[in-house]
Protein backbone atom coordinates (compact mmCIF):
# COMPACT_ATOMS: atom_id res chain seq x y z
CA UNK A 1 0.00 0.00 0.00
CA UNK A 2 2.73 2.43 0.94
CA UNK A 3 3.87 3.21 -2.56
CA UNK A 4 5.41 6.56 -3.38
CA UNK A 5 2.34 7.64 -5.32
CA UNK A 6 0.14 6.89 -2.32
CA UNK A 7 2.36 8.94 -0.04
CA UNK A 8 2.52 11.89 -2.41
CA UNK A 9 -1.25 11.91 -2.82
CA UNK A 10 -1.75 11.71 0.92
CA UNK A 11 0.68 14.59 1.46
CA UNK A 12 -1.12 16.69 -1.13
CA UNK A 13 -4.41 16.01 0.63
CA UNK A 14 -2.91 17.14 3.94
CA UNK A 15 -1.52 20.29 2.33
CA UNK A 16 -4.97 21.12 0.94
CA UNK A 17 -6.59 20.51 4.33
CA UNK A 18 -4.05 22.76 6.02
CA UNK A 19 -4.56 25.47 3.38
CA UNK A 20 -8.28 25.37 4.05
CA UNK A 21 -7.51 25.73 7.74
CA UNK A 22 -5.31 28.72 6.97
CA UNK A 23 -8.22 30.27 5.06
CA UNK A 24 -10.33 29.89 8.18
CA UNK A 25 -7.75 31.51 10.40
CA UNK A 26 -6.17 34.10 8.10
CA UNK A 27 -8.84 36.79 8.54
CA UNK A 28 -8.32 36.55 12.30
CA UNK A 29 -4.55 36.78 11.92
CA UNK A 30 -4.87 39.85 9.68
CA UNK A 31 -7.26 41.31 12.23
CA UNK A 32 -4.81 40.87 15.10
CA UNK A 33 -1.89 42.30 13.14
CA UNK A 34 -3.89 45.21 11.75
CA UNK A 35 -5.28 46.04 15.19
CA UNK A 36 -1.76 47.12 16.13
CA UNK A 37 -1.13 49.29 13.07
CA UNK A 38 -2.28 52.79 12.15
CA UNK A 39 -4.96 53.34 9.54
CA UNK A 40 -2.36 54.89 7.30
CA UNK A 41 0.00 51.93 7.52
CA UNK A 42 -2.82 49.50 6.74
CA UNK A 43 -3.89 51.52 3.72
CA UNK A 44 -0.45 51.76 2.20
CA UNK A 45 1.34 48.52 3.00
CA UNK A 46 0.81 44.88 3.84
CA UNK A 47 2.67 42.98 6.51
CA UNK A 48 2.18 40.27 9.09
CA UNK A 49 4.49 42.00 11.58
CA UNK A 50 2.59 43.84 14.34
CA UNK A 51 2.89 47.63 14.47
CA UNK A 52 3.05 50.07 17.39
CA UNK A 53 -0.37 51.71 17.26
CA UNK A 54 -2.21 49.38 19.62
CA UNK A 55 -2.55 51.97 22.40
CA UNK A 56 -3.68 54.72 20.01
CA UNK A 57 -6.23 52.41 18.42
CA UNK A 58 -7.42 51.32 21.86
CA UNK A 59 -8.00 54.95 22.85
CA UNK A 60 -9.88 55.68 19.63
CA UNK A 61 -12.13 52.67 20.15
CA UNK A 62 -12.93 53.35 23.79
CA UNK A 63 -13.54 57.03 23.19
CA UNK A 64 -16.33 55.95 20.85
CA UNK A 65 -17.87 53.13 22.87
CA UNK A 66 -17.20 50.99 25.89
CA UNK A 67 -17.04 47.45 24.55
CA UNK A 68 -16.70 46.04 28.07
CA UNK A 69 -20.04 47.58 28.95
CA UNK A 70 -21.51 45.83 25.91
CA UNK A 71 -19.96 42.55 27.03
CA UNK A 72 -21.38 42.98 30.51
CA UNK A 73 -24.82 43.67 29.01
CA UNK A 74 -24.48 40.55 26.87
CA UNK A 75 -23.56 38.55 29.97
CA UNK A 76 -26.64 39.91 31.73
CA UNK A 77 -28.81 38.64 28.88
CA UNK A 78 -27.06 35.44 27.81
CA UNK A 79 -26.49 33.86 31.24
CA UNK A 80 -30.04 34.17 32.66
CA UNK A 81 -31.53 33.24 29.27
CA UNK A 82 -29.36 30.13 29.05
CA UNK A 83 -30.08 29.05 32.64
CA UNK A 84 -33.83 29.55 32.27
CA UNK A 85 -33.79 27.73 28.96
CA UNK A 86 -31.97 24.75 30.49
CA UNK A 87 -34.02 24.47 33.66
CA UNK A 88 -37.44 24.84 32.09
CA UNK A 89 -36.63 22.84 28.97
CA UNK A 90 -35.41 20.01 31.21
CA UNK A 91 -38.57 20.25 33.32
CA UNK A 92 -40.83 20.28 30.27
CA UNK A 93 -38.89 17.49 28.57
CA UNK A 94 -39.03 15.39 31.74
CA UNK A 95 -42.79 15.92 32.01
CA UNK A 96 -43.44 15.14 28.34
CA UNK A 97 -41.34 11.98 28.50
CA UNK A 98 -42.36 10.61 31.90
CA UNK A 99 -45.99 11.52 32.54
CA UNK A 100 -49.14 10.50 30.75
CA UNK A 101 -51.54 13.40 30.82
CA UNK A 102 -54.09 14.90 28.48
CA UNK A 103 -52.52 17.31 26.03
CA UNK A 104 -49.08 15.74 26.21
CA UNK A 105 -49.19 14.73 22.54
CA UNK A 106 -50.74 18.04 21.56
CA UNK A 107 -47.90 19.98 23.22
CA UNK A 108 -45.27 17.80 21.61
CA UNK A 109 -46.92 18.14 18.20
CA UNK A 110 -47.08 21.92 18.58
CA UNK A 111 -43.39 21.95 19.49
CA UNK A 112 -42.58 20.05 16.29
CA UNK A 113 -44.61 22.49 14.21
CA UNK A 114 -43.01 25.56 15.79
CA UNK A 115 -39.54 24.13 15.28
CA UNK A 116 -40.23 24.36 11.56
CA UNK A 117 -41.49 27.95 11.70
CA UNK A 118 -38.82 30.48 10.75
CA UNK A 119 -37.94 32.95 13.49
CA UNK A 120 -38.76 36.04 11.45
CA UNK A 121 -42.45 35.07 11.12
CA UNK A 122 -43.54 36.31 14.53
CA UNK A 123 -41.04 39.16 14.71
CA UNK A 124 -43.49 41.97 14.04
CA UNK A 125 -46.09 40.56 16.43
CA UNK A 126 -43.36 40.06 19.02
CA UNK A 127 -42.28 43.67 18.75
CA UNK A 128 -45.91 44.82 19.01
CA UNK A 129 -46.33 42.76 22.14
CA UNK A 130 -43.22 44.31 23.66
CA UNK A 131 -44.42 47.81 22.86
CA UNK A 132 -47.82 47.08 24.38
CA UNK A 133 -46.23 45.67 27.54
CA UNK A 134 -43.72 48.56 27.71
CA UNK A 135 -40.84 46.15 27.36
CA UNK A 136 -38.87 48.10 24.76
CA UNK A 137 -35.33 48.65 26.07
CA UNK A 138 -35.87 45.97 28.67
CA UNK A 139 -33.99 42.68 28.81
CA UNK A 140 -37.16 40.76 29.66
CA UNK A 141 -38.11 40.05 26.01
CA UNK A 142 -34.58 38.76 25.44
CA UNK A 143 -34.55 36.52 28.52
CA UNK A 144 -38.02 35.24 29.42
CA UNK A 145 -38.90 33.66 26.01
CA UNK A 146 -35.95 31.29 26.60
CA UNK A 147 -38.25 29.40 28.99
CA UNK A 148 -40.07 28.12 25.90
CA UNK A 149 -37.21 26.87 23.68
CA UNK A 150 -38.82 24.32 21.40
CA UNK A 151 -35.59 22.91 20.00
CA UNK A 152 -34.06 22.31 23.42
CA UNK A 153 -37.22 20.64 24.75
CA UNK A 154 -37.30 18.39 21.70
CA UNK A 155 -33.67 17.39 22.13
CA UNK A 156 -33.92 16.81 25.88
CA UNK A 157 -37.15 14.82 25.56
CA UNK A 158 -35.37 12.36 23.28
CA UNK A 159 -32.50 12.35 25.74
CA UNK A 160 -34.77 11.50 28.71
CA UNK A 161 -36.54 8.78 26.75
CA UNK A 162 -33.27 7.11 25.84
CA UNK A 163 -31.42 7.46 29.14
CA UNK A 164 -33.87 7.60 32.05
CA UNK A 165 -35.70 4.39 32.78
CA UNK A 166 -39.23 4.70 34.21
CA UNK A 167 -38.46 1.96 36.74
CA UNK A 168 -35.85 4.21 38.31
CA UNK A 169 -38.49 6.89 38.77
CA UNK A 170 -40.93 4.36 40.24
CA UNK A 171 -38.33 3.06 42.67
CA UNK A 172 -37.74 6.60 43.89
CA UNK A 173 -41.50 7.08 44.35
CA UNK A 174 -41.73 3.93 46.47
CA UNK A 175 -38.95 5.38 48.61
CA UNK A 176 -41.20 8.37 49.14
CA UNK A 177 -39.44 10.89 46.91
CA UNK A 178 -41.57 13.76 45.66
CA UNK A 179 -41.86 14.35 41.91
CA UNK A 180 -39.86 17.56 42.09
CA UNK A 181 -37.20 15.77 44.13
CA UNK A 182 -37.02 13.05 41.48
CA UNK A 183 -36.61 15.69 38.80
CA UNK A 184 -33.87 17.57 40.67
CA UNK A 185 -31.94 14.63 42.07
CA UNK A 186 -32.40 11.92 39.44
CA UNK A 187 -33.46 13.40 36.10
CA UNK A 188 -31.18 16.45 36.02
CA UNK A 189 -27.97 14.51 36.80
CA UNK A 190 -28.85 11.94 34.13
CA UNK A 191 -29.58 14.71 31.62
CA UNK A 192 -26.45 16.68 32.44
CA UNK A 193 -24.38 15.77 29.34
CA UNK A 194 -27.32 16.82 27.17
CA UNK A 195 -27.80 19.95 29.25
CA UNK A 196 -24.14 20.85 28.84
CA UNK A 197 -24.25 20.67 25.05
CA UNK A 198 -27.55 22.53 24.84
CA UNK A 199 -26.34 25.10 27.37
CA UNK A 200 -23.21 25.97 25.47
CA UNK A 201 -24.95 26.23 22.14
CA UNK A 202 -27.71 28.27 23.76
CA UNK A 203 -25.20 30.60 25.35
CA UNK A 204 -23.37 31.18 22.06
CA UNK A 205 -26.66 31.72 20.25
CA UNK A 206 -27.80 34.26 22.81
CA UNK A 207 -24.41 35.94 22.90
CA UNK A 208 -24.28 36.37 19.12
CA UNK A 209 -27.94 37.19 18.61
CA UNK A 210 -28.34 40.38 16.62
CA UNK A 211 -31.73 40.97 14.98
CA UNK A 212 -33.96 40.69 18.06
CA UNK A 213 -31.79 42.73 20.47
CA UNK A 214 -31.37 45.35 17.74
CA UNK A 215 -35.14 45.71 17.48
CA UNK A 216 -35.77 45.71 21.24
CA UNK A 217 -32.80 47.74 22.51
CA UNK A 218 -32.08 51.23 21.23
CA UNK A 219 -30.56 52.91 24.29
CA UNK A 220 -26.77 53.06 24.09
CA UNK A 221 -26.14 52.07 27.69
CA UNK A 222 -28.30 48.95 27.33
CA UNK A 223 -26.91 47.61 24.06
CA UNK A 224 -25.59 44.07 23.94
CA UNK A 225 -22.23 43.50 22.31
CA UNK A 226 -23.39 42.69 18.74
CA UNK A 227 -25.80 45.64 18.72
CA UNK A 228 -23.08 47.92 20.05
CA UNK A 229 -20.67 46.65 17.40
CA UNK A 230 -23.19 47.52 14.71
CA UNK A 231 -23.11 51.19 15.76
CA UNK A 232 -19.57 51.26 14.36
CA UNK A 233 -21.23 51.99 11.04
CA UNK A 234 -22.13 55.45 12.28
CA UNK A 235 -18.74 56.39 13.69
CA UNK A 236 -16.69 58.61 11.42
CA UNK A 237 -13.78 58.75 13.87
CA UNK A 238 -13.30 55.02 13.79
CA UNK A 239 -14.03 54.59 10.12
CA UNK A 240 -11.20 56.99 9.44
CA UNK A 241 -8.87 54.56 11.18
CA UNK A 242 -9.08 50.94 10.06
CA UNK A 243 -6.75 49.89 12.86
CA UNK A 244 -9.45 50.86 15.36
CA UNK A 245 -12.09 48.81 13.53
CA UNK A 246 -9.86 45.74 13.62
CA UNK A 247 -9.25 46.29 17.31
CA UNK A 248 -12.98 46.59 18.05
CA UNK A 249 -13.64 43.36 16.21
CA UNK A 250 -10.74 41.64 17.99
CA UNK A 251 -11.96 42.72 21.44
CA UNK A 252 -15.53 41.73 20.59
CA UNK A 253 -14.62 38.14 19.74
CA UNK A 254 -12.29 37.43 22.67
CA UNK A 255 -15.02 36.21 25.09
CA UNK A 256 -16.44 33.69 22.64
CA UNK A 257 -12.96 32.40 21.81
CA UNK A 258 -12.33 31.82 25.52
CA UNK A 259 -15.61 29.93 25.81
CA UNK A 260 -14.70 27.87 22.76
CA UNK A 261 -11.25 26.99 24.03
CA UNK A 262 -12.82 25.46 27.14
CA UNK A 263 -15.84 23.81 25.59
CA UNK A 264 -14.92 22.98 21.99
CA UNK A 265 -15.51 19.28 22.67
CA UNK A 266 -19.09 19.91 23.78
CA UNK A 267 -19.75 22.29 20.93
CA UNK A 268 -18.59 19.85 18.27
CA UNK A 269 -20.51 16.98 19.89
CA UNK A 270 -23.70 19.03 20.09
CA UNK A 271 -23.58 19.74 16.35
CA UNK A 272 -22.99 16.05 15.72
CA UNK A 273 -25.85 15.14 18.06
CA UNK A 274 -28.14 17.59 16.30
CA UNK A 275 -27.41 15.93 12.97
CA UNK A 276 -27.79 12.34 14.11
CA UNK A 277 -30.87 12.80 16.29
CA UNK A 278 -33.12 14.52 13.78
Amino acid sequence: MNTIGYRIKKTILYILLVLLGVTCLLPFLLMIVNATRTGNEIATSFTLIPGHALVDNWNTVFEFFNLFKGMWNSVKVAIPATLLCLYFSALTAFALAMYKFKGNKLIFGTILVFMMIPGQLGLIGFYNLCTALHLVNSYIPLIIPAIASTGTVFFLRQYVLSSLSPSLVEAARIDGASELYIFHRIAIPIMSPGLATMGIMGFIGNWNNYLLPMIIINKNEKMTLPVMMATLKASTDINANQGAIYLSVAVSIIPILIVFSFFSKYIISSISAGAVKE
Binding site: L13, C24, A43, L91, F101, G125, Y210, I268
Partner: protein, 309 residues
Protein backbone atom coordinates in the same frame (compact mmCIF):
# COMPACT_ATOMS: atom_id res chain seq x y z
CA UNK B 1 -55.54 -2.47 45.70
CA UNK B 2 -55.34 -2.17 41.93
CA UNK B 3 -57.65 0.81 42.01
CA UNK B 4 -55.49 2.60 44.54
CA UNK B 5 -52.42 2.08 42.45
CA UNK B 6 -54.18 3.57 39.46
CA UNK B 7 -55.36 6.66 41.33
CA UNK B 8 -51.84 7.09 42.63
CA UNK B 9 -50.46 6.99 39.12
CA UNK B 10 -53.02 9.57 38.03
CA UNK B 11 -51.85 11.71 40.89
CA UNK B 12 -48.28 11.41 39.69
CA UNK B 13 -49.28 12.04 36.11
CA UNK B 14 -51.11 15.19 37.14
CA UNK B 15 -47.73 16.60 38.11
CA UNK B 16 -47.08 16.65 34.35
CA UNK B 17 -49.47 19.60 34.07
CA UNK B 18 -47.61 21.50 36.75
CA UNK B 19 -44.25 20.84 35.15
CA UNK B 20 -45.21 21.93 31.65
CA UNK B 21 -47.14 24.98 32.85
CA UNK B 22 -44.27 27.54 32.72
CA UNK B 23 -43.32 26.36 29.25
CA UNK B 24 -46.90 26.52 27.99
CA UNK B 25 -47.58 29.99 29.41
CA UNK B 26 -44.40 31.52 27.97
CA UNK B 27 -44.85 29.64 24.71
CA UNK B 28 -48.39 31.01 24.25
CA UNK B 29 -47.32 34.57 25.05
CA UNK B 30 -44.01 34.84 23.22
CA UNK B 31 -44.31 32.25 20.41
CA UNK B 32 -47.94 31.64 19.51
CA UNK B 33 -49.35 35.11 20.10
CA UNK B 34 -46.70 36.96 18.01
CA UNK B 35 -47.23 34.60 15.07
CA UNK B 36 -51.03 35.04 15.20
CA UNK B 37 -50.73 38.77 15.77
CA UNK B 38 -48.52 39.08 12.69
CA UNK B 39 -51.12 37.09 10.74
CA UNK B 40 -53.87 39.48 11.86
CA UNK B 41 -51.79 42.56 11.03
CA UNK B 42 -51.10 41.20 7.56
CA UNK B 43 -54.81 41.59 6.76
CA UNK B 44 -54.97 45.22 7.92
CA UNK B 45 -53.63 48.47 6.58
CA UNK B 46 -51.80 49.24 9.85
CA UNK B 47 -49.03 51.74 9.30
CA UNK B 48 -47.71 52.13 12.83
CA UNK B 49 -49.29 50.06 15.58
CA UNK B 50 -51.28 52.20 17.99
CA UNK B 51 -51.49 55.15 15.61
CA UNK B 52 -54.97 55.53 14.11
CA UNK B 53 -57.63 52.84 13.58
CA UNK B 54 -56.49 50.23 11.06
CA UNK B 55 -58.98 48.82 8.54
CA UNK B 56 -59.38 45.21 7.53
CA UNK B 57 -58.17 45.05 3.95
CA UNK B 58 -58.43 41.32 3.22
CA UNK B 59 -55.72 40.01 0.95
CA UNK B 60 -54.67 43.45 -0.32
CA UNK B 61 -51.24 43.29 1.30
CA UNK B 62 -50.64 39.85 -0.18
CA UNK B 63 -51.67 40.98 -3.64
CA UNK B 64 -49.42 44.00 -3.27
CA UNK B 65 -46.54 41.80 -2.17
CA UNK B 66 -46.91 39.37 -5.07
CA UNK B 67 -47.04 42.21 -7.57
CA UNK B 68 -44.24 44.23 -5.93
CA UNK B 69 -41.22 44.10 -8.19
CA UNK B 70 -38.92 45.08 -5.31
CA UNK B 71 -40.15 42.07 -3.36
CA UNK B 72 -39.35 39.74 -6.27
CA UNK B 73 -35.97 41.40 -6.67
CA UNK B 74 -35.29 40.86 -2.95
CA UNK B 75 -36.39 37.23 -3.25
CA UNK B 76 -34.14 36.72 -6.25
CA UNK B 77 -31.22 38.31 -4.36
CA UNK B 78 -31.85 36.01 -1.41
CA UNK B 79 -32.09 32.90 -3.58
CA UNK B 80 -28.96 33.90 -5.50
CA UNK B 81 -26.89 34.54 -2.38
CA UNK B 82 -28.19 31.40 -0.70
CA UNK B 83 -27.85 29.27 -3.82
CA UNK B 84 -24.20 30.10 -4.44
CA UNK B 85 -23.55 29.75 -0.72
CA UNK B 86 -25.19 26.33 -0.35
CA UNK B 87 -23.42 24.88 -3.40
CA UNK B 88 -20.03 26.00 -2.06
CA UNK B 89 -20.82 25.13 1.54
CA UNK B 90 -22.26 21.66 0.99
CA UNK B 91 -19.80 20.93 -1.80
CA UNK B 92 -16.85 21.72 0.42
CA UNK B 93 -18.32 19.85 3.39
CA UNK B 94 -19.03 16.88 1.13
CA UNK B 95 -15.49 16.81 -0.27
CA UNK B 96 -14.04 17.00 3.23
CA UNK B 97 -16.33 14.21 4.34
CA UNK B 98 -15.11 12.09 1.40
CA UNK B 99 -11.49 12.79 2.31
CA UNK B 100 -11.90 11.95 5.98
CA UNK B 101 -14.03 8.87 5.43
CA UNK B 102 -11.82 7.43 2.69
CA UNK B 103 -10.91 3.85 3.53
CA UNK B 104 -7.68 3.98 1.53
CA UNK B 105 -6.04 7.14 2.81
CA UNK B 106 -7.27 7.01 6.42
CA UNK B 107 -6.60 10.69 7.05
CA UNK B 108 -5.68 11.65 10.61
CA UNK B 109 -6.24 14.83 12.60
CA UNK B 110 -10.02 15.05 12.14
CA UNK B 111 -10.44 16.46 15.65
CA UNK B 112 -8.06 19.35 15.07
CA UNK B 113 -9.23 20.11 11.55
CA UNK B 114 -12.89 20.25 12.44
CA UNK B 115 -12.22 22.66 15.30
CA UNK B 116 -10.33 24.98 12.96
CA UNK B 117 -12.98 24.69 10.24
CA UNK B 118 -15.72 25.37 12.75
CA UNK B 119 -14.09 28.41 14.33
CA UNK B 120 -15.55 31.08 11.98
CA UNK B 121 -19.04 29.91 12.90
CA UNK B 122 -18.64 31.04 16.49
CA UNK B 123 -18.13 34.69 15.81
CA UNK B 124 -21.08 37.06 15.94
CA UNK B 125 -22.30 38.22 12.54
CA UNK B 126 -21.65 41.85 13.44
CA UNK B 127 -17.99 41.16 14.14
CA UNK B 128 -17.56 39.06 11.00
CA UNK B 129 -19.28 41.74 8.94
CA UNK B 130 -16.99 44.52 10.13
CA UNK B 131 -13.93 42.33 9.82
CA UNK B 132 -14.65 41.57 6.16
CA UNK B 133 -15.99 44.98 5.33
CA UNK B 134 -12.70 46.43 6.46
CA UNK B 135 -10.56 43.75 4.83
CA UNK B 136 -12.46 44.20 1.55
CA UNK B 137 -12.45 47.99 1.56
CA UNK B 138 -11.95 49.23 -1.96
CA UNK B 139 -9.10 51.67 -1.43
CA UNK B 140 -7.59 50.85 1.96
CA UNK B 141 -8.52 47.20 2.51
CA UNK B 142 -5.89 44.58 3.18
CA UNK B 143 -7.46 42.14 0.70
CA UNK B 144 -6.93 44.41 -2.29
CA UNK B 145 -3.55 45.31 -0.86
CA UNK B 146 -2.48 41.64 -0.91
CA UNK B 147 -3.65 41.20 -4.52
CA UNK B 148 -1.84 44.40 -5.45
CA UNK B 149 1.41 43.14 -3.93
CA UNK B 150 1.06 39.83 -5.77
CA UNK B 151 0.42 41.62 -9.08
CA UNK B 152 3.44 43.82 -8.39
CA UNK B 153 5.64 40.74 -7.97
CA UNK B 154 4.79 39.81 -11.54
CA UNK B 155 5.10 43.40 -12.69
CA UNK B 156 1.39 43.79 -13.42
CA UNK B 157 -1.06 46.59 -12.78
CA UNK B 158 -4.04 45.88 -10.52
CA UNK B 159 -7.17 47.96 -10.68
CA UNK B 160 -8.69 47.58 -7.19
CA UNK B 161 -12.08 45.87 -7.30
CA UNK B 162 -14.79 47.47 -5.20
CA UNK B 163 -15.93 44.10 -3.82
CA UNK B 164 -18.84 45.35 -1.73
CA UNK B 165 -19.69 48.48 -3.70
CA UNK B 166 -20.38 46.78 -7.01
CA UNK B 167 -23.61 44.87 -7.60
CA UNK B 168 -21.69 42.39 -9.77
CA UNK B 169 -19.52 41.14 -6.90
CA UNK B 170 -21.21 42.10 -3.61
CA UNK B 171 -23.87 39.33 -3.45
CA UNK B 172 -21.27 36.65 -4.18
CA UNK B 173 -18.92 38.09 -1.58
CA UNK B 174 -21.75 37.56 0.91
CA UNK B 175 -22.17 33.97 -0.33
CA UNK B 176 -18.47 33.26 0.12
CA UNK B 177 -18.42 34.76 3.61
CA UNK B 178 -21.49 32.70 4.55
CA UNK B 179 -19.68 29.63 3.23
CA UNK B 180 -16.60 30.52 5.25
CA UNK B 181 -18.82 30.72 8.33
CA UNK B 182 -20.89 27.58 7.77
CA UNK B 183 -18.97 24.86 5.89
CA UNK B 184 -17.34 23.62 9.12
CA UNK B 185 -20.76 23.18 10.66
CA UNK B 186 -22.04 21.16 7.69
CA UNK B 187 -18.84 19.13 7.64
CA UNK B 188 -19.19 18.18 11.31
CA UNK B 189 -22.78 17.10 10.69
CA UNK B 190 -21.91 14.97 7.67
CA UNK B 191 -18.96 13.46 9.53
CA UNK B 192 -21.24 12.64 12.47
CA UNK B 193 -23.37 10.72 9.99
CA UNK B 194 -20.38 8.79 8.68
CA UNK B 195 -19.16 7.98 12.16
CA UNK B 196 -22.64 6.75 13.06
CA UNK B 197 -22.39 4.03 10.42
CA UNK B 198 -21.55 0.69 11.99
CA UNK B 199 -18.06 -0.54 11.19
CA UNK B 200 -19.53 -3.97 10.38
CA UNK B 201 -20.75 -2.65 7.03
CA UNK B 202 -17.29 -1.50 6.01
CA UNK B 203 -15.66 -4.70 7.20
CA UNK B 204 -18.22 -6.86 5.40
CA UNK B 205 -17.69 -4.84 2.23
CA UNK B 206 -13.93 -5.16 2.55
CA UNK B 207 -14.24 -8.94 2.92
CA UNK B 208 -16.40 -9.01 -0.21
CA UNK B 209 -13.57 -7.19 -1.95
CA UNK B 210 -15.49 -3.98 -2.64
CA UNK B 211 -13.36 -1.06 -3.87
CA UNK B 212 -13.28 2.25 -2.02
CA UNK B 213 -15.60 3.94 -4.54
CA UNK B 214 -18.09 1.11 -4.29
CA UNK B 215 -17.96 1.39 -0.51
CA UNK B 216 -18.49 5.12 -0.72
CA UNK B 217 -21.32 4.92 -3.24
CA UNK B 218 -23.11 1.89 -1.85
CA UNK B 219 -22.63 2.27 1.90
CA UNK B 220 -21.55 5.73 2.98
CA UNK B 221 -23.70 7.76 0.62
CA UNK B 222 -27.08 6.07 1.17
CA UNK B 223 -26.60 5.96 4.93
CA UNK B 224 -25.79 9.64 5.32
CA UNK B 225 -28.60 10.76 3.02
CA UNK B 226 -30.99 11.63 5.88
CA UNK B 227 -28.32 13.89 7.36
CA UNK B 228 -27.67 15.54 4.03
CA UNK B 229 -31.37 16.26 3.81
CA UNK B 230 -31.36 17.67 7.31
CA UNK B 231 -28.38 19.90 6.50
CA UNK B 232 -29.99 21.04 3.25
CA UNK B 233 -33.33 21.87 4.86
CA UNK B 234 -31.94 23.69 7.89
CA UNK B 235 -29.65 25.63 5.60
CA UNK B 236 -32.58 26.49 3.35
CA UNK B 237 -34.73 27.71 6.23
CA UNK B 238 -31.81 29.78 7.52
CA UNK B 239 -30.70 30.86 4.04
CA UNK B 240 -34.03 32.30 2.93
CA UNK B 241 -34.09 34.33 6.15
CA UNK B 242 -30.67 35.78 5.34
CA UNK B 243 -30.38 39.12 7.08
CA UNK B 244 -27.43 39.88 9.35
CA UNK B 245 -24.58 39.70 6.88
CA UNK B 246 -26.05 41.57 3.88
CA UNK B 247 -27.75 44.06 6.20
CA UNK B 248 -24.52 44.90 7.98
CA UNK B 249 -22.30 44.84 4.92
CA UNK B 250 -24.49 46.94 2.67
CA UNK B 251 -25.15 50.59 2.66
CA UNK B 252 -28.52 51.99 1.63
CA UNK B 253 -26.76 54.72 -0.35
CA UNK B 254 -24.47 52.38 -2.27
CA UNK B 255 -25.06 51.20 -5.84
CA UNK B 256 -24.88 47.55 -4.82
CA UNK B 257 -27.71 47.89 -2.28
CA UNK B 258 -30.44 46.84 -4.70
CA UNK B 259 -28.51 43.63 -5.37
CA UNK B 260 -27.94 42.89 -1.69
CA UNK B 261 -31.38 43.54 -0.24
CA UNK B 262 -32.85 40.25 0.99
CA UNK B 263 -36.50 39.47 1.76
CA UNK B 264 -36.03 39.87 5.52
CA UNK B 265 -34.19 43.17 4.90
CA UNK B 266 -37.16 44.26 2.79
CA UNK B 267 -39.53 43.23 5.57
CA UNK B 268 -37.34 45.08 8.08
CA UNK B 269 -37.65 48.19 5.95
CA UNK B 270 -41.44 48.21 6.36
CA UNK B 271 -41.58 46.66 9.79
CA UNK B 272 -38.96 48.50 11.77
CA UNK B 273 -37.43 51.40 9.88
CA UNK B 274 -38.59 54.84 10.96
CA UNK B 275 -40.14 56.73 8.07
CA UNK B 276 -41.02 53.69 5.95
CA UNK B 277 -43.06 51.81 8.54
CA UNK B 278 -46.04 49.92 7.07
CA UNK B 279 -46.56 47.19 9.61
CA UNK B 280 -49.47 45.56 7.77
CA UNK B 281 -47.46 45.17 4.59
CA UNK B 282 -44.36 43.97 6.46
CA UNK B 283 -46.48 41.27 8.13
CA UNK B 284 -47.73 40.06 4.76
CA UNK B 285 -44.13 39.85 3.51
CA UNK B 286 -43.26 37.73 6.55
CA UNK B 287 -46.08 35.31 5.76
CA UNK B 288 -45.32 35.12 2.05
CA UNK B 289 -41.71 34.25 2.91
CA UNK B 290 -42.94 31.65 5.38
CA UNK B 291 -45.15 30.04 2.73
CA UNK B 292 -42.26 29.98 0.28
CA UNK B 293 -39.98 28.33 2.85
CA UNK B 294 -42.69 25.81 3.71
CA UNK B 295 -43.34 24.91 0.06
CA UNK B 296 -39.67 24.48 -0.77
CA UNK B 297 -39.06 22.37 2.36
CA UNK B 298 -41.95 20.06 1.48
CA UNK B 299 -40.69 19.69 -2.09
CA UNK B 300 -37.19 18.99 -0.79
CA UNK B 301 -38.44 16.27 1.56
CA UNK B 302 -40.52 14.71 -1.23
CA UNK B 303 -37.59 14.70 -3.67
CA UNK B 304 -35.23 13.12 -1.17
CA UNK B 305 -37.72 10.45 -0.22
CA UNK B 306 -38.55 9.57 -3.81
CA UNK B 307 -34.93 8.79 -4.66
CA UNK B 308 -34.94 6.20 -1.89
CA UNK B 309 -37.12 3.76 -3.88
Amino acid sequence: MKKRKKSNLTKYNNMGYVFVLPFVVVFLIFNVYPVLRTLYLSFTNTKIVGVGEPDWVGFNNYVRCLTDKFFWKALWNTVKMWGVNIILQLGLAFLLMMVFSDVKYKMKGLKVFRIVYYLPNLIAATSVAFLFQTLLDWRYGTFNRIILEIYKLFGMQYNPVDWLGSGATAPYVISVIQTWMWFGNSFIMLMAGVQGISNDYFEAAAIDGAGRWTIFGKITLPLIKPIMMYVAITSLIGGLQLFDMPFLMSNASSVSYKDMQTVVMYMYKFGFTTGTTQTGYASAIAYVLFLIILTVSVIQVKLFNRKED
